[in-house]
Symmetry: C2
Subunit: 521 residues, 2 copies
């Protein structure tokens, strides 16, 4: 009649991963259950007995600054004796288009609406192509209802449309519906592929090459799975291009402690906004081939290319055009309804295309996904409208195209505007935002400020972002959440606030930064 007898402290401490959690609270020292008259609490699950990988994972895009932003928003809603020096929080921390006022694409929402409420098929409020599309999706659902489970990889009709979209995008290079897997956003696909590769061999974990800076889903997942992150530096002086010599350095160093098995490339870049040239992609593919690396191409921003002269080239297309042996390399590419021109983050739609996977491994991947049953039908229907938009001559064509163009044109303007505005601020350097939804400017922080941050036990760029939030209501993500060259400081901001708010944001930003530089000079 005893509780479990382990002394779990040792492991956590040995691994050096005891959490400097902001929360206090019992951490397994006492027994299992609360004592009515005391404060200690015996718990089965404590910081010392829980999965240590989860303790070390971090996801800065939704980290402590965002929690603080929420608190400030709550304060703003209340009347206060001492009002804050701003009236609204600007959440520039996350690529959340609709939250920033972007209006949904009509066709997408109308199709979803009909899929969920087929009673409206008789309504005159919906154009014939909307009805046709919803009917087509419903016809492919078991029992003609989006309330039934679909195949674990998604509805066949949607996967066919995705394959056709890719084929057209890549100038006719074929894509097979059997290689398409629908997912909840891109994240689910990325996590599935990394999980599939998670195999410790000869005492070494798999190494995952990720760009520095990178999107923290990768670092978080690598930590969660106990894999090893192999960082390669993007070349800030060359508009965040990939530098092959640094890839080689990274992989060679990594072999000491891991089995490098996959390279992640984010194109267009997050947080960096670069769009890779075809030649750069070719070099990366050659490198991956030589090193025997699986390519994970995070191409969720493929519709978001703004800069003159920049163009999106899919890794699959470039690889295929390079011919054998490159055209037979294993690759997974990811896409999401959360980005692009639709920005449907909350619906959780996405897909991955997995090419040249060993067939028995593909069977294993599909088996693994089957235990999650299926991706949400709302996301699947949404993906379908995006990859198979209304065609010329169909009733919704004009509105779809003009709504799409309006979003992308405005984003392109904001990308330009934000780059220019940052570069006008002394001590801030911002590369061209060629694509995606972010700028990642470099901060030349005054020595005195850096010292003060260190005394306060904060990363200097975190401290900067916190001060910015407290003084202006602007919520950005510090560069340390993405990774950066040691001794440099950056931050990521989205380009998503609508033009007027973006202008006001840049004014507040400029005033804050100027004052800070003055104070700490």
């Amino acid at each position: 009649m005893q509780h479990h007898q382990e002394t779990p402290h040792s492991t956590g401490q040995t691994l050096g991963i005891r959490m400097a959690a902001t929360q206090n609270g019992g951490s397994g020292d006492a027994g299992h259950h609360s004592q009515k008259d005391g404060v200690s609490s015996k718990k089965t699950l404590t910081l010392d007995t829980m999965n240590p990988h989860i303790k070390v994972m971090e996801y800065a895009v939704r980290g402590p600054l965002v929690i603080r932003a929420g608190e400030i928003e709550a304060m703003l809603k209340k009347k206060m004796d001492k009002p804050l020096p701003f009236t609204e929080v600007i959440r520039a921390n996350i690529g959340d288009c609709h939250a920033m006022g972007q209006v949904p694409i009509t066709f997408i929402r109308q199709v979803l609406c009909l899929c969920f409420n087929p009673e409206l098929f008789e309504s005159p409020d919906f154009a014939s192509d909307v009805k046709d599309r919803a009917r087509r999706i419903l016809a492919s659902c078991q029992g003609k209802s989006v309330g039934s489970y679909t195949d674990s990889t998604g509805l066949e009709v949607v996967r066919r449309d995705v394959a056709e979209f890719i084929t057209n995008r890549d100038g006719g290079i074929p894509s097979s519906p059997e290689n398409i897997i629908l997912t909840a956003g891109a994240s689910e696909g990325i996590k599935a592929m990394l999980k599939l590769m998670n195999f410790e061999r000869e005492g070494k974990p798999p190494g995952v090459m990720v760009p520095i800076p990178q999107y923290p889903l990768y670092s978080a997942t690598i930590a969660e799975y106990g894999m090893e992150q192999v960082g390669y530096f993007l070349d800030e002086d060359n508009n965040w291009a990939l530098d092959i010599s640094d890839l080689k350095r990274a992989v060679n160093e990594a072999r000491k402690t891991s089995n490098p098995s996959v390279i992640v490339v984010i194109n267009p870049g997050n947080p960096t906004g670069q769009v890779l040239t075809e030649e750069n992609i070719r070099e990366i593919i050659r490198f991956a081939y030589e090193e025997g690396l699986f390519i994970m191409a995070d191409e969720v921003y493929q519709d978001n290319v703004y800069a003159h002269g920049s163009k999106f080239h899919s890794f699959k297309k470039v690889m295929t055009e390079m011919g054998s042996p490159y055209s037979e390399m294993e690759i997974a590419s990811f896409y999401s309804t959360s980005k692009g021109f639709m920005g449907e983050c909350g619906i959780r739609g996405g897909f991955m295309e997995v090419c040249n996977l060993d067939p028995p491994v593909m069977a294993m991947l599909k088996k693994m996904l089957s235990a999650k049953l299926c991706p949400t039908t709302a996301g699947q229907a949404c993906i379908d409208t995006v990859v198979n938009p209304p065609k010329e001559g169909e009733p919704s064509y004009e509105s779809f195209m003009s709504e799409k163009k309006a979003v992308l044109t405005s984003l392109a303007e904001r990308a330009k505007m934000i780059t220019q505005a940052f570069n006008l601020i002394p001590g801030i350097h911002c590369n061209d935002v060629q694509g995606a939804m972010y700028a990642f400017p470099r901060l030349d922080l005054p020595h005195k400020f850096v010292e003060e941050a260190k005394i306060k036990k904060r990363e200097p760029d975190f401290y900067y972002a916190l001060e910015l939030l407290e003084n202006t209501g602007i919520c950005i993500v510090p560069g340390s959440g993405f990774g950066q060259r040691p001794g440099t400081y950056h931050f990521r901001t989205t380009i998503l606030p609508p033009p007027e708010r973006l202008k006001s944001m840049m004014e507040r930003f400029t005033a804050f930064h100027t004052k800070l530089m003055e104070k700490y000079k």
Copy 2:
């Protein structure tokens, strides 16, 4: 300029987990890339280099029989020279209500429809309570759009409604929105909790106590995470109740090779359909307390209780009413929109309530979930309509209640009908389906049949299910997919086919079984 140098064969073979895959294909013997003129293919990711945990995981509900059922369906669609002895496949393998023709609840779908397409707020087709509900959900979304990300744990307004639902369900025992986490179905929550507990200590993995038979999400996840499954037998002779002496036997045996840390209880039962008595739940709670186990209460079928005298009691309620120290035990309970009276599987809505978790661990859980961004807004809106249905006097009240009642009444009738029909067949014994959506009858298979199955290297119950499918088009899941006492044979069938189809299914089943008994007697 070399490919990776590992000889990965050894590990897979040592672990004894080389897959007897049905697919052929290169498994790492050759180099990285296909040779134009040969058949071998060098792959980075092969059965020998992939995550070994994924190889061993199985999910029978969507296993090879279901794949075969899909092939047969495709054959039925084509004209054949030699027609099959049946005209349709009955997918009795999965609890997929809408696939079986169940009609969605109007209120749920109308609210979802308005959430996706707010242009319809002016339409006279929607009642005021539908509009109010959609407005309330949208008002809580950033930018008033379901296309924006929500909190990682879900919209606050929905979590509040869930907490109120639980409070009312449990006779006033309070529930806090802070303890509610919205998920994609129940599966996501179950996987998250198991992941949180996955910590090898003193060289032993955590042990997860699961019922035998169990829902294969548990065995699949335990395999995927490398945890240890600790099976305890449900008592078939006592209508699948939990037998505390067997729990004790199981946990004691398990301590040799694992650290038992959690007990999973499925109530109402899947695949067994039992509804636990309050006294049985109390015994289980006492056992969990004594053994220091975290309780995972899979209560997704709580709305599906049919038998006279049976009543759903939540583990949290019973535990709380038992008072200290039991009332302070750690527990997670799971709920899903896929089951109950709504059966909205494809939408992927669900929630878990996590009580008495150590606060820093709760923070870690929420941090872990934040990297997945958020559950789908469609699922969140769906959950809201289910936990906060129209109230008496509101325009949609009558239709909601009558639609709900119609579904549950019909399910209760089918539960009774299927039990009676199976018990009329010689060699089949079926316990009362008190709740959930399944029957789990025992098969007394003839010795000759068992021998033939063994010669064909099939589990006897798998062989039976395959023969049934090929001869009648009825797709069930063999008991070996859930676990059963050695030497016994079972299968799971849903009770979901509509009455007429169910009747026809039972006739085909009876004929098949009678013929089989005759042939192998």
